[in-house]
């Protein structure tokens, strides 16, 4: 069994389950009487618990199992759903998520998780104990919550016994089986487990395997080769006292089982070739068929299936009796009745001497609960065509994206090639053909890029999902009532954009909850509904995704913002007085600004909106704030659909090529030098009746060169948007647009102000891409 694959699958599904559980819990809170929601919630927890059972994740299983028991009661209305119960469940699921993270990272749960898991499990079980069905619940809580360990439990035969071929010694009496699990550090105690096992008196059989899986690949380096990893089972016919004396130094590491009883009853000498285990299981299944047939009202199909099972069972059990039984079964009519088949089955049971043990392994976990009677029978939901979904690791998609990025850049070298063919090699015909081919490749590359971007597109709802929980928790903490309304959660954007959106959004929501929405009493006094509303609206506008976060709270108090900004020395008092209210509220985006009179643990200590703005601008987005005092605040985030490919305008200045992000560019104009007005140091020009301030790019980059006009004496002006205003950048020349893959600056260059990053050009050169916003500040 490939454990790694199974574990990966487990982690993926566990995450899905936890996400579904979190979402459903909130749904149920809104609509606690909806059976369907409750069943759905229960099933997610149930699935998670079932999956845990495949691994030795006891701390996780303990918590999830407690949650399952709790929800089972809620589902059957023996326990009322309450906010406190939901809190406990949510916390338990958060804890489970941590454990799953550990599992993903290390393949196991770290030691010491037991305490936390027991705490969470008992917190959940406390709800059960408080409820009416306390008697069974207490018994339940007192019992171990982990599924029966196959090595212990009440099984007559420990599972390790099956590793020994005891049938071979069926004729012997006094056979003793034992399992010896040497402790990890045994080599440092001078023990020699292998020798100890080999020299057992009266040794009949000895089998060894690793106590846990041997390391593969990279794990091998980290493996401590001095720790013992042996699991030894053996059987002997020496007297027990003698064997015990042999293992006297490691007695606590040895488990014993008297194999004689099992061997004698399970393997009659007449059928020596068939192992006792097989015979036992066959008899149990035979018994199941009898029980099945004994039930009234079975359809013909059930009888036929039981008959087939009986036939198959017989064919696996060898011996004269079985052959005879097979023959007599074949003689029964094709449409035999259930009762006749039952009579036949009872009188022809194979190996009557075999112990008949129910297939059910004894398990006393839930002595009093009547689960079978109440398992859900959900069959009415309309069948829908199953969605075919392919799950692919993210790194594979990222790799594909990278390759396509390289391809986009590589295709850009064709126009250079065409140019060289024409200018250097005088091959005009060839140049035309290259250009024609370029057009084809360009189109395919565009389609390819579009297709892969579609793969990376996620609905923004993915990030909104967790906000329900966040708002619920925070508003409860603050004693406020808040409804969250989400619209347009199907709007799609690139995965990276979505992911980098989560933190800023959380920050914004916290601010809205903390500073925006008022306490219910205040709201009532202001004539508003006691419960505030936060709306998150997402939509696509051309190639941008717009996300608006609107609250109907107090709004931003412009006067207070002015005062705070002056008080904190962020702005001069005179300057503050001249600001309009709309401009004043924008001051909250300044670093170090906070109007909170008290430092709250929610909105932090003044690392406020500037963090949001920085984060949004890092992904080429923008933030706008509008606020009406007393009516609420709206934050409008404008984000790119994708961060992968950026279009830049390439300009030349002082002999250098530089890129300017296309989405900031308003227009490119050529202005005659005489139309440029000088006021002291500043230069301006008038474009369509509006005054546009001009800045020379060379000055901004501290390059000592004047802008070069063209032959007609005109200067190239790149008009860009900056803080809702147009600013003209004086450059030497425009060189056209280009698709690039923007790589952020790394290492020592990471702190460089004024540059968004670099890109590789088609001719192999590196293009520095400007960040005009930083540059102009």
């Amino acid at each position: 069994m490939n454990q790694a694959d199974l574990l990966d699958q487990f982690v993926i599904e566990a995450r899905e389950c936890l996400e579904a559980i979190g979402k459903r819990l909130l749904d149920v809170e809104q609509d606690p009487d909806n059976d369907e929601l409750l069943n759905d919630l229960f099933r997610s927890v149930h699935t998670l618990k079932g999956n845990c059972g495949l691994f030795e994740f006891k701390p996780l299983e303990r918590v999830v199992h407690a949650g399952e028991d709790l929800l089972d009661r809620v589902r059957h209305r023996t326990l009322a759903y309450s906010a406190a119960l939901a809190d406990a469940l949510l916390e338990a699921m958060d804890y489970s998520a941590q454990l799953i993270e550990q599992i993903e990272r290390h393949g196991r749960i770290e030691d010491g998780a037991d305490a936390g898991s027991i705490a969470h499990a008992s917190a959940l079980r406390a709800f059960v104990c408080d409820s009416a069905s306390a008697s069974s619940a207490e018994a339940l809580a007192a019992l171990p919550v982990v599924a029966a360990d196959p090595a212990s439990g009440e099984d007559v035969t420990p599972s390790w016994m099956s590793r020994l071929d005891l049938a071979a010694f069926a004729s012997k009496s006094g056979v003793l089986a034992l399992r010896y699990l040497p402790e990890e550090g045994c080599f440092f105690k001078g023990e020699d487990p292998w020798r100890l096992a080999r020299t057992v008196p009266g040794l009949l059989q000895l089998k060894v395997e690793g106590a846990c899986a041997w390391p593969q690949g990279d794990e091998r380096a980290a493996w401590d080769c001095y720790q013992c990893n042996l699991d030894i089972v053996l059987c002997t016919d020496a007297p027990r006292a003698e064997v015990e004396a042999h293992f006297r130094c490691v007695a606590e590491q040895v488990a014993w089982c008297d194999a004689t009883v099992n061997v004698r009853t399970a393997a009659p000498p007449s059928d020596g070739a068939v192992s006792p285990l097989l015979r036992k299981r066959a008899a149990a299944l035979w018994n199941d068929q009898c029980e099945l047939l004994a039930r009234a009202g079975h359809s013909a199909g059930t009888v036929r299936a039981a008959r087939r099972a009986l036939t198959n069972l017989l064919s696996c059990v060898e011996g004269a009796a079985a052959s005879a039984a097979s023959a007599s079964l074949a003689e029964l009519s094709e449409e035999v009745s259930a009762s006749s088949l039952l009579t036949w089955a009872r009188s022809n049971a194979p190996a009557a001497e075999a112990v008949v043990v129910a297939t059910l392994s004894p398990d006393a976990r839930m002595p009093d609960t009547d689960i079978a009677a109440v398992l859900p029978r959900i069959e009415d939901s309309p069948p829908a065509a199953p969605q075919k979904v392919l799950k692919v690791g993210q790194e594979k998609i990222d790799r594909l994206m990278e390759l396509i990025g390289e391809m986009v850049v590589a295709k850009n070298s064709l126009p250079y090639l065409a140019q060289r063919a024409e200018e250097v090699f005088q091959q005009r015909e060839l140049a035309r053909e290259i250009k024609a081919q370029y057009a084809v490749i360009n189109r395919i590359a565009d389609d390819l890029q579009h297709a892969i971007m579609q793969v990376r597109m996620l609905p923004v709802g993915a990030v909104f999902q967790r906000f329900g929980r966040l708002i619920r928790d925070i508003s409860r903490k603050l004693g406020k009532e808040v409804n969250l309304v989400v619209e347009g959660e199907d709007t799609e954007a690139d995965k990276n954009v979505i992911e980098s959106l989560a933190d800023p959004l959380i920050h914004i929501l916290r601010n809205s909850l903390d500073h925006g929405i008022e306490l219910p009493a205040v709201r009532r006094a202001a004539g508003k509904a006691p419960a505030g509303t936060i709306r998150i609206v997402a939509r696509q506008e051309s190639d941008r995704v717009i996300i608006e976060i609107q609250d109907d709270g107090a709004g931003v108090n412009a006067a207070r913002v002015r005062d705070k900004a002056v008080e904190r020395g962020l702005i001069h008092a005179d300057q503050a007085a001249t600001l309009s209210d709309d401009d004043a509220v924008q001051l909250i985006f300044l670093p170090g600004f906070s109007t909170a009179d008290q430092i709250s643990d929610l909105s932090g200590r003044g690392v406020g909106m500037d963090v949001v703005r920085t984060a949004i601008e890092r992904i080429n987005g923008g933030v706008e704030l509008t606020s009406v005092q007393g009516q609420g605040t709206t934050l409008r985030l404008s984000l790119p659909l994708s961060m992968a490919v950026t279009t830049v305008m390439v300009v030349e200045s002082a002999g250098r090529q530089l890129g300017v992000p296309m989405d900031l560019i308003v227009e490119t104009v050529r202005v005659p030098a005489c139309d440029i007005h000088h006021f002291k140091q500043a230069r301006t020009t008038v474009l369509r009746g509006r005054v546009v301030p001009l800045r020379a790019l060379n000055d901004l980059l501290a390059l000592d060169a004047a802008p070069i006009p063209n032959d007609a004496g005109e200067l190239a002006v790149l008009v860009i948007r900056h803080d809702n205003e147009s600013v003209g950048l004086l450059v030497d020349q425009f060189q056209g647009a280009s698709d690039i893959i923007l790589k952020p600056l790394e290492g020592v260059l990471a702190g460089l102000i004024g540059f968004a990053g670099t890109a590789l050009m088609g001719d192999g050169g590196v293009l520095m891409v400007l960040n005009p916003k930083e540059l102009l500040q």
Binding site: M1, T47, S162, L278, D288, L360
Partner: protein
């Protein structure tokens, strides 16, 4: 080759069961719930019908009990045995499975040997049954 349909809504469990069963030399297919399982049954050509069903109990849309009941009602040339696998280990759970028409019952997580041996016996695959019990794990 014997054909087994694994029905479970948990992907991890499906993967686990299919791996164990295909390692024992059988062909496996999967369905996510009772409705899908019935669709699979209908989609089979009669000479390629499933030889065994390994079915979970608690599933969305149609649970394991309902699936077995529906299956047994079908006019199939081959009514194959069903093994139910569920986390519950009470006598009444076994009874409920037998009431529905299942031919065997295992408690989740099914031990590899239990699952493979039960499947081998219900399939009538003598070689696999013997291989499963004869110390393959040395």
């Amino acid at each position: 080759m014997y054909r087994i349909l694994v029905v479970d809504d948990a992907a991890t469990v499906r993967m686990y069961h299919r791996k164990l069963l295909s390692d024992a030399g059988w062909h496996t297919e999967e369905a996510l719930n009772g409705v899908e399982a019935l669709e699979c049954v209908h989609a089979q050509e009669s000479d390629e019908a499933f030889d065994l069903y390994v079915v979970d109990v608690n599933m969305p849309r149609m649970d394991g009990y309902s699936f077995v009941r529906e299956l047994r009602r079908l006019e199939l040339r081959h009514q194959a045995p069903v093994v139910m696998v569920s986390t519950e280990a009470q006598r009444q759970d076994v009874d409920a499975a037998l009431d529905a028409g299942a031919n065997g019952y295992l408690v989740k997580p099914a031990q590899p040997l239990d699952l493979v041996l039960s499947a081998a016996l219900l399939l009538g695959d003598r070689e696999a049954a013997r291989a499963a019990t004869q110390g393959v794990r040395t």
